[in-house]
């Protein structure tokens, strides 16, 4: 089996994987980073979004081997020194999550959204989160959370 090596949440990691192993499987099964979730099998739901070389990526859409040498950030790698990322804090402050299953992917997508659209209006937020499905919140409080985080991240 091929060996893949990458940086995950600032740590160099490597592991043996089958050729068909997806990045999300490598994260969950080899590295036990179970914060990244699998909610579908057609790359629709976005529960598995992580950052690969700074871009949000559905980790079910790429093979672990394709991430060889990449810099990967998962939900576990966001908080620094026990302090949440402004997006995590904004989700908590605005009740932007209920069951928590879509949340890691939603937070990772939202961070990328704000990096690429520093002052997003509601329509931009809704359009940019089209690839992340939430069944609990109706998105209302997620939009509010992204708006709050955008202010903090911009300032």
């Amino acid at each position: 089996m091929p060996t893949v090596s990458m940086t995950v949440n600032g740590q160099a990691v490597s592991g043996e994987v089958e050729g068909r192993t997806l990045l999300v499987q490598f994260l969950r099964e080899n590295l036990n980073l179970t914060g990244t979730h699998v909610g579908c099998d057609t790359s629709q739901c976005g529960a598995c979004v992580v950052h690969v070389n700074g871009d949000s990526m559905k980790s079910c859409t790429m093979l672990a081997a394709q991430a060889n040498g990449a810099d990967v950030i998962t939900i576990e790698g966001l908080a620094k020194g026990g302090e949440m990322h402004p997006m995590q804090q904004a989700f908590m402050d605005n009740h932007g999550l209920q069951c928590g299953f879509c949340t890691p992917g939603m937070v990772m997508s939202a961070i990328d959204l704000v990096v690429k659209h520093p002052n997003p209006d509601e329509a931009t937020i809704r359009a940019e989160l089209e690839g992340n499905i939430c069944r609990c919140t109706g998105y209302h409080n997620i939009v509010k959370a992204v708006q709050q985080a955008a202010k903090v991240m911009g300032g």
């Binding site: 979730h37 949440m84 989700f91 069951c99 209302h140 997620i142």
Partner: protein
């Protein structure tokens, strides 16, 4: 005033773990020596199984075991059960055709499990399953609700002639027919309540583990009710006796009804773990979830209203069929009957109502409770029929509702369909929502939109639901196989922290926070010192779980009752320590005080004394740990009025919800932030049903057409607006906390509000859900 008690929008305790990737969902659990299960499912909607050849699969690389239905039967594993026995026409109880864990004789829907392959890895299990050869003889299938009982339709079960599981009726048919015969006006609408796939974001999963040293089975499972899972698997399926069977429902990623039920795969993981003496894990992929989760709704209905010359409702008559799928799931026939028929009075004084409901079997996945469960179907037909009645009478939809409302002063109100409402002020919620939505300004907005080439419409929905399930005697008399009380244990630890065990289960509802607030309110303990524990049959005593918006109205009262027992015992201990009469001890804000003095003792000090009882009242047991069970006296009756305002582009059929305004009566709000979140989520579910979602099986082949998120349209962020949410509370006389359920209201209220807005914009009588752009465009073209 207690800080962070009832009424505080406290940030949620559970959020830290969910936001940092530290949630513990079933698929996150891995046990030493674990194997992986994969289910071979029928590719046919209806087929006789002639033979199943498993030898090649058994010898495939990594395969540990392959089992078929006979293997479970040989171990005396029972089939999946229907927990409802509802009495229909002629005193006949519903049929309950048997269902084996793995079907043996016939496959009855696409996805019906045939065999399980257990292997070292999931990939090996899947590869092994490809080597199983099943010899099928394909049979004609039937998937349509309206056609299931047609002459000559393919028959699913010998036990169900004409595919009818139950013919049920409710109400006085003769009185209703007489009222129609003499009515000044009648209105009628034919409608379909579209089939939904519940789709919590976490797919179902299970991990079974066996300890041969203690002969105990542990099942980690995506369940809304772990004790009920254990009960069913123990009592009916013979998996293990309850005292040797632990069921853990850890963090669960949404339920919405579909995780109430005991499923084939869960029983297999528990049974096979003992059989092969290794842990067995199964996780559904989304395609399997579409095929095998219980679906919701799926009614085909004709509804009629008889009115007098002033638009007063004289009688309502409903004829409907409900699709049950290929097998009866746990609640099954109780949903289109009891949970549907008993809500048909809505907010109105309609004196006589008659419903006939035929529950039919089809070659589709089982249909059961899904967010609202029967009440969305009732509300949709009623609120559509009221709008059609308004159209017939030439009355404003708000006005016809006002003329027929049950008035606040008539509460409690006995409806003609069993339920007795205990509270509500429907005029108040309607007045408030009309003001909040600027109903009076609609005409001007419509005119302005017309100038932009857009069709603007406004729609009302005035709903009531019955939740907080439920009084045990009431549901027992109707044929529900369990009591629906709830339990709680409130345990003071010696150093003053409080551990609360609840029999309900939180899968997004925030119980760890809201229930802690109840304890803080009652006992005055800081909320950070209260921990709520749920979801493990080895930790808490028996409980009935979470569904039917019951957790706070039933489970919350049990918690508070246990707190009151703590206070009662604490008074004895404090009286002894403070050398006063027990009658003179007052309790408030966490302190026991001798009335009229400054002699006081905190509840933490009392707790410590209870565990170190050196100087202690005679006859009082040590410890401070109380259990309470609460069986409600009535259902909970949340209600409200919603207004939806939309704009349609007639050239494309695309539709935008420009305003959605809700005014709900949930009684007392324990955590308003969480309640509002529940409203938002319910609205998304209801708007999803109205505009986007619809589960479709192919009429000819019986194949599931909408089998993935590519084909089944879930509401996404850009499909929905921000919501305008407000409240008009009343006091429920039967609930000691003054609370009502809130988790299902949005899903119940929204579909008719949305469709009423669309037909208003188009100037038509009716349009079936989901109102997709194509359907709306066709309707707009036809309407000119």
């Amino acid at each position: 005033m207690v800080e962070n008690g009832i009424g505080a929008s406290l940030r949620r305790k559970e959020d830290n773990r969910f936001l940092t990737g530290k949630g513990n969902y079933t698929d996150d659990i891995n046990r030493p020596g674990q194997t992986h299960a994969y289910l071979l499912r029928s590719p046919h909607a209806h087929a006789t199984i002639n033979s199943i050849e498993i030898a090649a699969a058994k010898s495939a690389p990594g395969v540990v075991a392959v089992f078929v239905g006979q293997d479970l039967v040989a171990d005396a594993v029972g089939g999946l059960v229907c927990g409802a026995s509802v009495t229909g026409k002629g005193g006949e109880v519903n049929k309950a055709p048997p269902r084996n864990v793995l079907t043996m004789d016939k496959a009855r829907f696409v996805g019906d499990p045939i065999a399980v392959v257990i292997a070292e890895t999931l990939a090996q299990a899947k590869d092994g399953a490809e080597l199983i050869a099943v010899d099928y003889t394909e049979l004609p299938s039937v998937v349509s609700t309206s056609g299931a009982d047609a002459p000559g339709a393919p028959q699913l079960h010998e036990e169900c002639p004409d595919n009818v599981a139950l013919d049920w009726e409710l109400g006085d048919k003769a009185a209703v027919d007489a009222a129609f015969a003499s009515a000044a006006k009648t209105a009628s609408v034919d409608l379909i309540n579209n089939r939904m796939v519940t789709n919590p974001m976490e797919p179902r999963a299970a991990v079974g583990e066996y300890n041969s040293g203690t002969d105990e089975i542990t099942l980690y499972v995506t369940s809304q009710n772990p004790h009920v899972h254990r009960l069913v698997m123990s009592a009916f399926m013979n998996i293990a006796p309850e005292h040797k069977f632990r069921v853990v429902a850890p963090d669960v990623g949404g339920g919405f009804g579909s995780k109430i039920f005991t499923y084939n795969e869960e029983a297999i993981c528990a049974w096979a773990a003992k059989k092969i003496n290794r842990p067995v894990k199964w996780t559904a992929d989304r395609s399997e979830a579409f095929l095998s989760d219980a679906h919701g709704r799926d009614h085909v209905t004709t509804a009629e209203m008889a009115l007098d010359a002033d638009g007063k409702f004289l009688a309502m008559r409903v004829s409907s069929k409900g699709n049950m799928g290929a097998y009866l799931q746990l609640f099954s026939v109780s949903i289109p009957t009891l949970f549907h028929g008993f809500l048909l009075a809505g907010q109105y004084t309609t004196p006589v109502i008659y419903l006939e409901m035929r529950c039919v079997m089809t070659n589709t996945a089982p249909v059961d409770a899904a967010r609202g469960a029967g009440r969305p179907e009732a509300t949709y037909l009623l609120e559509r029929l009221v709008d059609v009645s308004a159209l017939e009478m030439g009355l404003d939809p708000a006005e016809i509702r006002r003329r027929n409302f049950i008035k606040a002063e008539q509460m409690p109100y006995q409806t003609p369909v069993v339920q007795c409402y205990d509270s509500g002020d429907y005029d108040a919620s309607l007045d408030k929502v009309l003001a909040n939505a600027d109903y009076d300004g609609f005409a001007a907005r419509k005119a302005e939109a017309k100038g932009r080439g857009k069709l603007r419409g406004i729609g009302l929905s005035a709903y009531i639901e019955a939740c907080g399930v439920a009084p045990s005697a009431a549901v027992g008399s109707l044929g529900v196989g369990v009591g629906l009380w709830e339990s709680a244990q409130v345990r003071f630890n010696p150093t003053g922290g409080v551990t609360v065990f609840t029999g309900t289960h939180s899968h997004g509802q925030g119980h760890e926070t809201a229930f802690a607030q109840l304890v803080t309110e009652r006992l005055g303990v800081p909320v950070e010192n209260v921990e709520v524990v749920h979801g493990d049959t080895d930790k808490g005593q028996f409980g009935m779980g979470t569904y039917g918006s019951r957790s706070l109205p039933v489970g919350g009262v049990a918690i508070v009752n246990a707190c009151d027992k703590i206070i009662a015992k604490g008074k004895k201990i404090a009286a002894h320590t403070l050398e006063a009469s027990e009658d003179d001890i007052e309790f408030g804000e966490g302190n026991f005080t001798v009335a009229g003095t400054d002699k006081t003792m905190s509840i933490a000090e009392v707790a410590f004394t209870a565990y170190v009882p050196h100087n202690y009242p005679e006859g009082v047991e040590p410890g401070l740990d109380e259990i309470a069970f609460f069986d409600p006296l009535n259902f909970s009756f949340p209600a409200g009025a919603h207004v939806c305002e939309i704009e349609i582009d007639p050239d494309t059929g695309t539709l935008e919800i420009v305003n959605y305004t809700a005014v709900d009566d949930f009684g007392v709000l324990v955590n308003p932030m969480i309640v509002e979140g529940q409203v938002h989520g319910g609205l998304a579910h209801g708007i999803g049903q109205a505009l986007l979602e619809g589960c479709v099986y192919d009429d000819d082949s019986g194949q599931l057409i909408t089998g993935s998120f590519q084909d089944y349209c879930m509401p996404r962020a850009d499909n929905l607006p921000s919501f305008n949410v407000d409240y008009a509370p009343t006091v429920p006389i039967h609930n000691p906390l003054g609370v009502k359920g809130c988790g299902e209201a949005g899903a119940i209220a929204a579909p008719p509000a949305v469709i009423n807005a669309i037909v208003n914009a188009l100037g038509i009588k009716h349009l079936d859900m989901p109102a997709t752009a194509e359907k709306v465009w066709r309707a707009a073209q036809a309407a000119g």
